[in-house]
Amino acid sequence: MATPVLDKVEAEAAASPYITATFRIRRFNPEISDEATWEDFQVEIDPKERVLDALHKIKWELDGSLTFRRSCAHGICGSDAMRINGKNRLACKTLIKDINPEKPITVEAIKGLTVLKDLVVDMEPFFQAYRDVMPFLVTEGNEPTRERLQSPEDRERFDDTTKCILCAACTSSCPVFWNDGQYFGPAAIVNAHRFIFDSRDEAGEQRLEILNDRDGVWRCRTTFNCTDACPRGIEVTKAIQEVKRALITRRF
């Protein structure tokens, strides 16, 4: 009776899911140095776990000073967008096995925003652009006594852009935004699109005028970096393109 149990234990040990992955993390701590440096961490981890789990492991077991944002850990709050292996992703939605753990996995803060510490950036410019497009329902006249009804087709029109979680993965992957932080950035345009094409909203014209600005949609070069980066699968470039089309067709 003892043998099968032993066999099983041995087999399990041989087929242990754990691997040793190297995480190369871009560290910056203004209280120690004015320079950012790469630091390697070796982590024993199941490759079916996520990058966020590895970061937790590092923070909880190896180096408690590692700083990063996360809240929900399930791809909903949008706080842990980071540049993993050179691509913007959510750490909580990236499985280690999908990004080749044989080589060191690089993790750094998203680009184009001020790095405050390690992987934490100052999101204020990003949210300022978001505020600038008036991301709220604007209506005129008396408030209806019941909810504002909308047909499924009207809702379908802007369904894609309602999925945004404001993680900044798109805006911080945009080369125009890197060069000139004055550009509204894809995320702000996505959230403007969500209201411009909402049949209940009445300030579409105003928002279009805001995006017609020098730093508005016309700066977009159709690089598609934003569509690639979006963890929610929003067709960001398409949304920007639809805003451009709306601007042109309202004139002619």
């Binding site: 203004p30 209280e31 120690i32 140095s33 004015d34 184009g112 925003l113 001020t114 790095v115 405050l116 100052d122 204020e124 410019p125 300022q128 652009a129 600038d132 125009v176 890197w178 060069n179 000139d180 932080g181 004055q182 005028e209 017609n212 600005d213 020098r214 730093d215 508005g216 016309w218 700066r219 451009k244 601007l247 042109i248 004139r251």
Partner: protein
């Protein structure tokens, strides 16, 4: 030796501390509440027309430029046939005059507008941006006007 290194690292560490943190590196031209927004006249559609112009002139230029290159470099003996006589012969016809004129204007404005957007993107200081653009506008205007003048006043009998 080892004492030296320790001293050096200690120096490094004391340079910045909790009360005296290192300056963070801000990306150029951040958007904050306080940053002055680029002046934008309400209802001005300049950027939109610029964008449209780039798409439309691009389509026309594909035909014009490829046709131009084909005639000049490939057909009929290639580049070696080009000379004063060849140009004079072509510009005798209003069709080729118009072709070259349109190509000149579209190509210069297309390229000029492209460079303008590049300068807007990459020049960090307002002053640099302004002077680079002035240089660009002058060069564009000069080339366009000179080219136009030559096309219209071309004299095949010049000695």
């Amino acid at each position: 030796m080892s004492a030296d290194t320790t001293a050096a690292t200690t120096d490094d560490v004391t340079l910045y501390d909790v009360d005296n943190p290192a300056p963070v590196i801000e990306p150029p031209r951040q958007r904050t509440k306080k940053t002055p927004r680029a002046p934008h006249k309400k209802g001005s559609n300049f950027e939109m027309y610029g964008w449209l112009f780039m798409r439309l002139s691009g389509i026309v230029l594909v035909v014009l430029v490829l046709g131009h290159l084909l005639i000049q470099l490939v057909l009929d003996g290639g580049v070696s046939k080009i000379g004063f006589a060849f140009v004079a012969g072509r510009w005798a016809s209003p069709f080729w005059q118009a072709w070259d004129l349109i190509m000149l204007w579209l190509a210069m404005l297309h390229g000029g507008n492209g460079l303008r957007t590049i300068i807007n993107d990459y020049a960090e200081r307002d002053n640099t941006r302004f002077w680079l653009k002035m240089l660009l506008y002058t060069a564009t205007a000069f080339t366009v006007l000179l080219g136009t003048l030559v096309i219209f006043t071309f004299d095949p009998n010049i000695r």
